[in-house]
């Protein structure tokens, strides 16, 4: 305890009073300590009965890990009076730049469009603070950002008081203008230079109370929306870096196979447009004038390959390994009182629409990288090591990414680009072919979940879950920090490996089911056999789906309605609120035709709770509906998502996240999976991977963000996936009368596609596009 108390930031004065700094210099620059307001719940003793995440969850852990770095975030006010902030996080579509700009606009009394948020390049001194994961951004930056903005406002007001000859307390700041009672006024721009301080000084500020807010909590459109709809938004591959020519990699037929030799290097080098060909760690890289010519070269390469680490293995082999490694259940089987469930979750590709990509310019004594990265410091240090440079010789520029889903925590594209640029002695614009993404890219690990519940005298007295998964790769900069921090974790967590820690900190079964045990086992701890990552929501979608299906089974056993049953067993008020509202909005229990049904599920995580109600149509005429080259199947016709996300900064942003999470969870339940056959994944593009498309989208989608009773914002980047996947699975079970036990549900259907060849590793682009104009 003493240790925790010592971590309490000294600058914290009261709930809304904090200290920040005006930084010495010629223009107005203000700073606040990143650790402000961060007080992880670990100061509370952990009794053995509640599950750990109830008191101390992954976000507390991430906040906790950022404390010792004690670094600063700064806001600069320019001579026009506009605010500039370089966010040490990555924007990958989750809307954090908008939310952060809103916080600044609020506290600074500046119009939103005059707050300019950019992404900071790698700052090694920030360590943990520069990791965008676990939906932690808003939770950990909420206070420091507001404090910095309030300091800036105060400095501007002080300068204005002198300039206007008025009393500080009589001034009113609004929309970037400061007015005195006599009607005279100055703009922020007028006093920005005067507000600068020759030397750094401390400033005490009081943050706005919730009732004074006019921006935070109001729906705001994304600040980059105009750029997105005009094509001006720049992704990594849109940046013009002189001489950085298109580069692609020819990959092994086996998952993680490597190149031994090239049999026709000279012939490929002589092809139109091609400038370079070289073996790198992950295959054979080619550089050409256009990506089209890279594709031609990749297809022409004749390469001798080394086998991959899972050569010859298929999904049933991995399933057998996982089953053999399942940890034993504690409660013995007790005849009719026992309910057992056994669920299988297949690999799923975590790939975004923008493929892995990066620009790299590697010179003898320096390297520059441009990429969408969630752990830029980790990328910087890895790349420096690979290139034999000092970390400070590598500059890493963070670019907005086209979606991430946990994949960009790794810097696969950037590392590969650095290797290729070094091998070629020339700058490269490296991009993965789409075919490489599901086949060689990061996947959500395959898992089995075994559940045993016991029902006695009309109530549930035990609920045990044994989740066994292919190891999730967490080697993206969390590791070192963890070793340092792990001893500070609440009782009993210190002995666990990192995956187990994350599992313990995120999984929580919010029901009063007597004895609850939830354990994770990851056998064969060699994370490089498969390329996994904490793809969206880490373990939660699978764990929640297994749990909620079993909860429905328990309700059935006790002859109770699924919603009534959940209501009586839920121990969390927050979860009950979202459940009740979803049931109400979605008209739970309304009469539905045979073959169609409602399903409902809840999930508690990220300091909030989600409930999802869906209606699904599993009638043959719907399941077999025809859309050209499409995977149709059961249709979710309606979805209602209700979330308690804590303090809401931008309700519109949260709703967008919930919609995205829903589309993801639904695909994971019904259609989206990777088939591991004979050492490689069959899926090679969007015609193979059946991710949600318009023909699967519910006709009616509603999302409601509840007024929270909580005082802190929750993370929302991933919160919607788990309950969505679970609700769709539960609805399917109720519509068909058969509880699904393997996911995606269509996994064993005959393949809807002819697998593309593995050699060459990428398909040629068609030439008949003009016959499909529409």
């Amino acid at each position: 305890m003493g240790k925790q108390a010592g971590r309490e930031p000294a600058a914290r004065l009261s709930r809304r009073s904090f200290v920040g700094y005006v930084v010495g210099g010629t223009s107005l620059m203000v700073m606040a300590d990143l650790a402000l307001g961060a007080s992880p719940a670990s100061a509370v003793p952990i009794p053995s009965v509640p599950q750990i995440p109830e008191l101390y969850d992954l976000n507390d852990f991430l906040v906790h890990c950022t404390l010792p770095t004690a670094n600063h975030v700064g806001i600069r006010i320019d001579e026009q009076g506009d605010a500039h902030f370089a966010l040490p996080r990555m924007e990958v579509g989750q809307g954090i730049t908008t939310a952060v700009a809103m916080l600044i606009a609020e506290e600074l009394d500046l119009p939103l469009d005059r707050v300019h948020v950019t992404l900071a390049p790698a700052r090694p001194e920030l360590l943990f603070n520069q990791l965008t994961g676990g939906s932690n951004t808003i939770i950990s930056m909420y206070t420091p950002i507001r404090v910095a903005a309030a300091v800036a406002r105060k400095a501007l007001l002080e300068a204005a008081a002198i300039q206007l000859g008025a009393l500080l307390t009589s001034l009113v700041a609004k929309g970037g203008v400061i007015s005195a009672p006599d009607g005279s006024s100055v703009t922020y721009g007028d006093v920005a230079t005067a507000a600068a301080a020759p030397t750094t000084r401390q400033v005490k500020v009081t943050l706005k109370a919730a009732a004074e807010r006019t921006v935070v909590g109001t729906p705001q459109r994304r600040i980059d929306a105009l750029d997105a709809v005009t094509g001006r938004k720049q992704f990594a591959m849109d940046i013009a870096v002189p001489d950085a020519l298109p580069t692609m990699v020819c990959r092994a037929p086996d998952l993680n196979g490597t190149a031994k030799s090239i049999r026709n290097e000279a012939a490929v080098k002589a092809m139109a447009g091609v400038t370079h060909v070289a073996i790198i760690e992950t295959g054979v890289a080619v550089r050409a004038r256009t990506f089209g010519q890279c594709i031609d070269a990749v297809r022409a390469l004749d390469v001798e390959w080394n086998a991959g680490p899972v050569a010859g293995k298929s999904a049933p082999d991995i399933l057998k390994e996982l089953r053999a490694a399942q940890l034993p259940l504690v409660v013995p089987k007790a005849g009719a009182a026992t309910l057992d469930g056994d669920f299988v979750f297949h690999f799923r590709s975590g790939s975004a629409l923008e493929p892995n990509c990066a620009i790299a310019d590697v010179r003898a004594d320096s390297a520059t990288i441009w990429a969408g990265l969630k752990s830029p410091i980790d990328a910087q240090s890895k790349i420096a090591k690979i290139l034999g440079l000092f970390q400070k010789q590598v500059s890493v520029n963070v670019v907005q990414g086209g979606g991430s889903f946990g994949r960009k925590l790794f810097s696969d594209g950037a590392i590969e680009a650095a290797r290729a640029s070094k091998a070629f002695g020339a700058p490269v614009k490296l991009m993965w072919h789409r075919a490489d993404e599901p086949r060689q890219g990061r996947v959500h690990p395959m898992a089995v979940s075994r559940i045993r519940a016991t029902v006695l005298l009309g109530s549930v007295i035990s609920f045990e879950q044994r989740h066994t998964a292919v190891p999730t790769d967490f080697r993206h900069g969390l590791g070192e920090r963890l070793t340092a921090e792990v001893s500070a974790l609440p009782t009993g967590l210190g002995n666990l490996g990192f995956s187990e820690t994350v599992f313990m900190l995120t999984q929580e079964l919010p029901y009063n089911f007597g004895v609850i045990t939830q354990l994770l086992n990851e056998p064969k701890p060699a994370p490089d056999r498969f390329n996994t990552s904490s793809v969206r929501n880490i373990y939660s979608p699978d764990v929640a789906t297994a749990n909620e299906l079993m909860v429905d089974q328990l309700a059935k056993r006790l002859k109770q309605d699924p919603v009534a049953f959940r209501r009586s067993y839920l121990k969390s008020r927050v979860v009950k609120r979202v459940l009740n509202r979803a049931a109400e909005l979605g008209e739970w229990g309304r009469a539905m035709p045979a073959g169609t049904a409602q399903g409902i599920a809840i999930h508690k995580e990220y300091k909030g709770a989600t409930a999802v109600l869906v209606e699904i149509d599993c009638r043959p005429e719907t399941v077999n509906r025809k859309v050209r080259d499409a995977v149709t199947g059961p249709r979710v016709t309606k979805a209602v998502v209700v979330i308690d996300a804590g303090v809401v900064i931008n309700p519109l942003g949260i709703k967008a996240q919930m919609m995205g999470g829903f589309m993801d969870g639904m695909a994971q339940a019904l259609t989206y999976g990777n088939h591991l056959v004979d050492g490689h994944f069959l899926e090679a593009s969007w015609d193979n991977s059946a991710y949600t498309r318009q023909w699967n989208t519910p006709f009616d989608f509603q999302c409601e963000v509840l007024d929270s009773e909580s005082k802190v914002p929750g993370g929302v980047g991933e919160a919607g996936v788990a309950a969505s996947m679970a609700a769709v699975a539960c609805a399917y079970a109720r519509a068909t009368g058969k509880m699904p036990t393997e996911f995606p549900i269509n996994f064993h259907d005959p393949l809807h596609f002819e697998p593309k060849p593995f050699i060459p590793s990428v398909p040629q682009s068609p030439t008949d596009g003009l016959s499909y104009t529409s």
């Binding site: 994304r222 967008a656 589309m663």
Partner: protein, 160 residues
Amino acid sequence: MTTHTFKLNGETVTVEVEDDVRILWVLRDVLGVTGPKYGCGINVCKACTSHINGKAFNPCSVPVGAIGADDEITTIEGLADTVDGDGLHPMQEAWLEHDVAQCGYCQPGQIMAAVALVNRVRAEDRAITEDDLDAIRNVCRCGTYSRIRDAVRTGAEMMG
């Protein structure tokens, strides 16, 4: 290499490139027009959707040698100029109104596909149906699908 001339966003352009290079790469890698995005290269994700002579097409699947000097290509960058006034195209306005974009990567293609859909439905003198919306093939990995449906309907109204 061959010299190719065609119209792009209202201007005549000339490029030196091999006949078989797909138009997507001519636009992105040679001309630096980066609005159309790469998402598959095999005409299935529709991220590259642009217009040729007013109809939607996928430049990843058309070699530059297949088009001629009279062919007019419009990318997202040129869409606003296809309507009167100096603002955005009504479909882009609809996209802003519904705050459709998340990461934004798929959105240039989505908007170009939506405009073509509305034009097609209009030529058939009918309103947009759920089936029309179901038939939009563009992938959005961020899952903005419901907002796209709403925005297409709004955009159709605004297109008059």
